[in-house]
C-alpha cells in the first residue's frame, strides 16, 4: 500500500516535470519554404526564451515540428499525427491559408487550439472556435491596397492577376476588386493563373493591351517575382504591387532588378523604432548570422508567446480551458503589435507597406486597423 502511494507520488512528480508539447506545422521545403523557414526561427526563439525563464506552469515547452513540404494534403496528415500521437497542447503554424484550412477541422474535432501565425484568409477561423490567428485578415489588407492604389499610386485603372488555386489569392483579389470599384476605380483586366505556373507572358500581354495604371498580383512570392520580371520584359512599366504573400527574400533574389519599386504588404517593419521590434531584430541577428528577419519570424514568435501566455492563464493544458484562455487574450504586447483576440478569433493589427529599394525591403507607411 505504502509502495503504491510512493509510486503514485513519483508518477505525479514525473508528470509535473514532463514538458508541455507544442506542435508546429511549417512549409520548411517546397514553394512556400520561405514562410516556413522564417516562421520556424521565430517559434524556436520564443520556445527557447520561455524555457530559459523556467517554462510555463513549472514545465518546460517541447516543440514538435514537422514539414508539410508545401504540398496539399500533408498538413492534414501532420495535424492528425500531432493531436493523435504526440498529444500536443496546441499547434502553431506558419502555413498558408490553404494549409491551415486543412488542419482546422482536425484540431477542432480533437479540441486542440490552433494558432495560425500568418494565414490571412477569413475562412480559416470562421465557424471553428478552436482556431485562432495573430495577424490581420484579407478584407483589411485588400481594402488598404485598394485605397493605396487609388490615392498613393494615383491609379484609376488596375489590372488584377489572381492565382485561382489558392483561397488566399482568390479572396484577396475579390476584396480588392470590390473595394477598388466602390472607391470609383476601374478594373482594366482580370487575369488568372495557377500555383506553380512559370509563364505569365500570355496574361501580361493581355494586360498590356488593356493599358492599366498599375497591376496587382495577389499570389505568392515565387510567382510574383516571375510576374514582375516578365512584365518588365514585355515593356510594362506601370507599378506592380501585392499582398503579404510577396514577402520573402526570394522575391528580390528571383526578381532582381525587375522588383525594384514594387509595393507589398507586411506585418511589421524591421526598421521600426518600437522597443519590442528593436530587441527582436537584435536577438534574431545575433542568433542567425546577422540576417534581418522578415515578418514571418516575429509572427511565429508572437504566436508562440501568445500560446504560452494562454497556458499560464489557463493554468492547464486541457483543450477547452486553453481555448477559453486564448480567446480571452487581451492587449498582449508583441513584436508585430498589440494582440487582442476578437469574437471572430482574429487579431486586428496594423499593416505595413513596404517597397523594394536597392534589392532590400524599405518601409513606406503603417496603416492602423
Amino acid at each position: 500500500m505504502r509502495l503504491a502511494a510512493a509510486l503514485l507520488a513519483l508518477v505525479t512528480l514525473v508528470r509535473a516535470v514532463e514538458p508541455i508539447k507544442i506542435g508546429e506545422i511549417e512549409p520548411m521545403t517546397g514553394k512556400d519554404a520561405a514562410f516556413g523557414q522564417s516562421s520556424h526561427r521565430g517559434v524556436q526563439m520564443a520556445i527557447d526564451e520561455i524555457n530559459a525563464r523556467g517554462g510555463v506552469l513549472g514545465r518546460l515547452l517541447l516543440l514538435v515540428d514537422d514539414d508539410n513540404q508545401s504540398k496539399p494534403g500533408d498538413t492534414a496528415t501532420i495535424a492528425k499525427k500531432l493531436v493523435g500521437r504526440d498529444k500536443v497542447a496546441a499547434i502553431v503554424s506558419g502555413g498558408t491559408s490553404s494549409a491551415c484550412l486543412e488542419a482546422a477541422p482536425i484540431c477542432q474535432a480533437a479540441r486542440v487550439p490552433f494558432v495560425a501565425d500568418q494565414a490571412t484568409a477569413p475562412e480559416v477561423t470562421e465557424k471553428r472556435d478552436y482556431i485562432f490567428r495573430n495577424c490581420f485578415i484579407d478584407p483589411f489588407q485588400g481594402a488598404m491596397l485598394a485605397k493605396f492604389a487609388l490615392t498613393k499610386l494615383g491609379a484609376k485603372r488596375v489590372a488584377v492577376l489572381t492565382s485561382v488555386t489558392t483561397p488566399y489569392s482568390v479572396g484577396l483579389s475579390r476584396v480588392f476588386r470590390d473595394r477598388f470599384l466602390a472607391l470609383g476605380g476601374t478594373i482594366a483586366a482580370d487575369q488568372k493563373y495557377a500555383e506553380g505556373d512559370k509563364d505569365f507572358r500570355a496574361q501580361l500581354t493581355t494586360i498590356k493591351a488593356a493599358a492599366p495604371d498599375a497591376i496587382i498580383a495577389t499570389g505568392f512570392y515565387t510567382e510574383a517575382a516571375l510576374i514582375c520580371k516578365q512584365a518588365r520584359d514585355l515593356g510594362l512599366s506601370c507599378p506592380l504591387f501585392g499582398g503579404d504573400g510577396w514577402e520573402a527574400p526570394e522575391l528580390m533574389e528571383i526578381g532582381g532588378k525587375a522588383v525594384e519599386g514594387v509595393f507589398y504588404v507586411s506585418h511589421y517593419s524591421s526598421e521600426s523604432t518600437a522597443p519590442e521590434v528593436r530587441e527582436f531584430v537584435k536577438k534574431y541577428r545575433a542568433r542567425f548570422s546577422g540576417e534581418t528577419p522578415d515578418s514571418m519570424a516575429p509572427l511565429g514568435y508572437d504566436a508562440t508567446l501568445i500560446v504560452a501566455d494562454a497556458i499560464a492563464r489557463a493554468g492547464s493544458t486541457e483543450g477547452p480551458k486553453l481555448r477559453d484562455a486564448l480567446a480571452a487574450t487581451k492587449n498582449f504586447p508583441g513584436v508585430t503589435g498589440v494582440t487582442t483576440i476578437d469574437s471572430q478569433r482574429n487579431a486586428s493589427k496594423p499593416a505595413v507597406l513596404l517597397t523594394v529599394k536597392n534589392g532590400k525591403p524599405q518601409f513606406v507607411e503603417s496603416i492602423a486597423p
Binding site: T29, K31, K192, G196, K198, A202, T205, K208, L234, I254
Partner: protein, 296 residues
C-alpha cells in the same frame, strides 16, 4: 494585332521548349517502343547542372552561356546513357509494361534524389546569356525568347541531319524498323540504343536550360508539368515521328498561350488536353504518324 503577334511569339517560344523535350520521348519510343518517363527529370537535372556550372562562368556572356549549355548537354547525355545501361538494358526483351514501370521508378528516384541533393526550395537560375529586349512596332521581343526558338530550330536541324545523313542515324532507323534484322546486318543494337538515349537526354538538357532562362526559378519537381505537356506534344504529332514532335510542341505551346491570355485561362490545361483527345479521335496515330496494324 500587335497583341496577337506578341501572344504568337510567346506561344512559339514556349512551344519550342516543349518540342525539344518531346523529341527525346519520340526518339526513344521510335527505337525501343516504350515511353521513357524519366525523360522529364533529365530535363530538370539539365537545368540544375546549368545552375551550378553557371556559377563558375561570368554571367551574361555568350561564351559563358555556351559553356553552360554544352556542359549541361554532355552531363545529361552521360546521365541518360547511365540510366539506360543500369535500369533499362537488363530488361531488354522483357514485357513493355515492366520497362514502363521501371521508367516511372527512375523518374521518382531522380525527383526525390534531386530534393535531397539540390534541396526542395526553388532556386534562382542565373542569367547566363546576355539579354536585352527590343521592340518592333509595339511588339516586344526578348533575346531569351529568340534564343529559345533559335537554339530549338538549330538542334532540330542537327537532329534531322544525324538521323538521316549519318551512319549512326541510319543504324538508329534500322533498329527502329526491326531490331533483329538490324543485328543480322551487323548493327550493334546496344551502341545505337545508348546513343539514342544520350542524344535525347542532351536535347532535354538544352530544353531545361532554355526553360530556366525564360522562367528563372528551378526546383527538383520542375520537370513534371513540362514533361507531361511534351509527352502530349509527342503523341499529338505522332509518337516516334521527329517532325511530328516538333509540330506537336509548337501547337501545344501556342494553344496554351492563347488560352492563358483569354478569360478562360483557368481551363488552359483542360483545353490543351481536349485538343489532344479530338485530334486522336480523328487521327489515332497523331498528326504526322502513320497508322500501322500491329501484328501479334
Amino acid at each position: 494585332m500587335s497583341e496577337f503577334l506578341q501572344q504568337l511569339l510567346n506561344g512559339l517560344s514556349l512551344g519550342a521548349i516543349y518540342a525539344l523535350i518531346a523529341l527525346g520521348y519520340t526518339m526513344v519510343y521510335g527505337v525501343l517502343r516504350f515511353i521513357n518517363f524519366a525523360h522529364s527529370d533529365v530535363f530538370m537535372v539539365g537545368a540544375f547542372i546549368g545552375y551550378y556550372v553557371g556559377k563558375l562562368v561570368p554571367e551574361g556572356t555568350l561564351w559563358g552561356g555556351m559553356i553552360v549549355l554544352i556542359a549541361s548537354m554532355v552531363g545529361c547525355a552521360i546521365l541518360g546513357m547511365t540510366i539506360e545501361r543500369l535500369a533499362y538494358r537488363p530488361l531488354r526483351g522483357a514485357a513493355t509494361l515492366n520497362v514502363l514501370i521501371t521508367a516511372i521508378g527512375v523518374s521518382l528516384l531522380l525527383e526525390y534524389s534531386g530534393q535531397v541533393f539540390f534541396g526542395a526550395a526553388p532556386r534562382t537560375f542565373p542569367q547566363i546569356f546576355p539579354s536585352a529586349n527590343f521592340s518592333v512596332g509595339g511588339l516586344v521581343i526578348s533575346t531569351n525568347q529568340l534564343a529559345v526558338i533559335l537554339v530549338a530550330v538549330l538542334l532540330m536541324i542537327g537532329l534531322q541531319f544525324i538521323v538521316y545523313r549519318t551512319k549512326i542515324g541510319t543504324a538508329m532507323r534500322a533498329v527502329s524498323l526491326n531490331p533483329k534484322a538490324a543485328q543480322l546486318v551487323g548493327v550493334n543494337n546496344d551502341v545505337v540504343i545508348s546513343f539514342t538515349f544520350g542524344l535525347g537526354s542532351a536535347l532535354a538538357a538544352a530544353g531545361g536550360i532554355l526553360y530556366a532562362l525564360n522562367y528563372p526559378s528551378i526546383d527538383p519537381l520542375m520537370g513534371v508539368m513540362p514533361g507531361l505537356k511534351a509527352f502530349v506534344a509527342a503523341v499529338l504529332g505522332g509518337i516516334g515521328n521527329i517532325p511530328g514532335a516538333a509540330l506537336g510542341g509548337l501547337i501545344l505551346g501556342t494553344v496554351e498561350t492563347f488560352v492563358n491570355g483569354s478569360q478562360w485561362s483557368t481551363y488552359k490545361d483542360a483545353i490543351a488536353f481536349a485538343i489532344l483527345i479530338i485530334i486522336l479521335l480523328f487521327r489515332p496515330a497523331g498528326l504526322l504518324g502513320k497508322f500501322t496494324v500491329e501484328k501479334v
